[in-house]
Symmetry: C2
Subunit: 417 residues, 2 copies
Amino acid sequence: MFLRVLMIGSGGVGDAAARIASERDFFERWVVADYDVTRAERTVAAVVGRRAGEGRFVSAQVDASSAEAVTQLALEHSATHVFNAVDPKFNMSIFDGARAAGADYLDMAMSLSQRHPERPYEEVGVMLGDEQFAVADEWEAEGRLALVGIGVEPGLSDVFARYAADHLFEQIDELGTRDGANLVVHDDDGNEVFAPSFSMWTTIEECLNPPVVWEKGRGWFTTAPFSEPEVFDFPEGIGPVECVNVEHEEVLLMPRWVDARRVTFKYGLGDEFIGILKVLNTLGLDRTSPITVKGVEVSPRDVVAAALPDPATIGPRMTGKTCAGLYVTGTGKDGRPRRTYLYHVVDNAETMAGYDAQCVVWQTAVNPVVALELLARGTWKGAGVLGPEAFDAVPFLDLLAAAKPEGYGSPWGIDER
Amino acid sequence: MFLRVLMIGSGGVGDAAARIASERDFFERWVVADYDVTRAERTVAAVVGRRAGEGRFVSAQVDASSAEAVTQLALEHSATHVFNAVDPKFNMSIFDGARAAGADYLDMAMSLSQRHPERPYEEVGVMLGDEQFAVADEWEAEGRLALVGIGVEPGLSDVFARYAADHLFEQIDELGTRDGANLVVHDDDGNEVFAPSFSMWTTIEECLNPPVVWEKGRGWFTTAPFSEPEVFDFPEGIGPVECVNVEHEEVLLMPRWVDARRVTFKYGLGDEFIGILKVLNTLGLDRTSPITVKGVEVSPRDVVAAALPDPATIGPRMTGKTCAGLYVTGTGKDGRPRRTYLYHVVDNAETMAGYDAQCVVWQTAVNPVVALELLARGTWKGAGVLGPEAFDAVPFLDLLAAAKPEGYGSPWGIDER
């Protein structure tokens, strides 16, 4: 089966996904749709320039906040898969729009949470993905697949969880996603500047929301932001980084399919970034609801994001590596205690040279393309609202790591501790 | 002579100035003008409610960015004095508009600076007040007075400088304005919240601009922000606060009229506020030029200010005292070394009870009203662009401190160290 993909969003991740996909043969049509059609056109021009005779990519304009617009565009292009590559605030309209068009759906972050009204730092309210899982039965009954959280984190981290459960561990104490980097951005004069490598809107959302933790027998619960600080030693020269609990999809996904005693997500924010997020919260600049400023209405969080460099543009001024991975503790298949970090490191110099994409964006983008290829081959198949850990991890990890042109040439590692 | 005052701006300071003035008899007309006429009307209603038969206050709408609009309104009301009570970014239009109307002028902050293009943290560029002093000769030739910087700081601090030179010191080593407070703001649930007691726009301006210092033989020069940290012990229970150099008018005013070896201004920002200002700078949120956010144009600094509580509204939820003062070191009239802190402390509880105004705003507002009364009496007179230290300090300090109804009932203190 050759897929017909409608990709919504050609920001950093969408653009990189199109560039990665252009090297593969599993699809016959890839529609690059964006609210700003000039961005979509730029992405299409870039991928056409990468490969002689490339005619599979077309651009389109779309309002991602309108399920009807998504449905109409999917039907127009006979899309088999709608691939959501925009901020998660648009998840539900794209998710609903894909279903109405009879297309399968993929995203890299799940529907947004709402904190518990009385006890936000102890109990969960509406959880990440709740709105999507609420209609899982309908998706399954219709034979349609919504593969949610298939970026790098969530995504590859969840694949690692399934791999650890199937092949490395007899019993798992903790599935602990740990994310860290040693990325530095410089300005034109060579001075180090603050420039987040990922969407600032999303970073604020996940870091200032109450972090969620799962424990067997207790279920999901929340803590205060930046809880349980831990210095984690990342591989391949990145070294120790201070990590803290944040709200992340892995904690909502992994317990549904993988047996463990505890599931956590800690992000290597580092001291400076934690300080910045605390100040934004103190000043009320993390808020998403509009305020009136000299007669115009703006969301403070949108202003914070707009004042910073676009993460998609900082690649040329960035150096360093980023690491996504899963630290698993428990009892190995041999019955002895085991502590294993499964990880994927990407060097910014390599993704810039190969794809003109900065490493965090590229690392997010490669995973849904691998998943789409497995779905095209029929290696992965399913119906309902499923996380990456619902599928066999081995073909995914093999295809990701295999050298080009068979695979994606992006190896992952295992570090026994 | 009974004055006819056109006050531009009825934010926190303008509103408090009108309330303070309503107890005095030196004027026959006080026009409260604001871009938002409902704010002006609210102030007029408040002062009319304070005194039976009060008919001297009227409201008006004005665009402070238009010199022509200021001139027209001043002529319409036969204003003898235009009192500028808005953000200093509007200084030049009000200053020029007053002169064109043949009125005298008062402000509480001087025209804005521009940093040195190549060496911002070593050399001055355009200095605070430069644009105003550039036309001092014309004001003097026309017999008109622009009394600049007559709030509390600058203002009362400059009066203290003149007093120290005339009555306390034979020779002055340093005129060091030192400002600190122990103010705390609570939310409705009693939790401490971050809520600056003065215009955030202006606080960012003065704290992130390169601080200016003056030294005899060297003149004015700049340093990096937050330089020369010093823990200063404030009187009346406030205690020690960390103070750092900031850009402030006193450093530009005092050397023009008072003999000293060094002139500095240090602000008791405290650690948290310094950290917040550094983050705003890191994120580019201190910038005043507009950026595009989801199709609308806004200045990031305006957004920061709008996201915080209006300083004029936090009085009821605030406790503590604020202190403005001048630390003078040198040789006393008796030829012996002397270190004297001249200061003015205001308790928020008192200004709220007496004027429904928070203390920092009230402390700023009282000084121009005292000055206007001295000008009305003819005790203070002059022509040109003059700072408060160009006038005899004694009648000002006496009128400020004297009990009501003769004076303003707000004593100042001397602390020998």
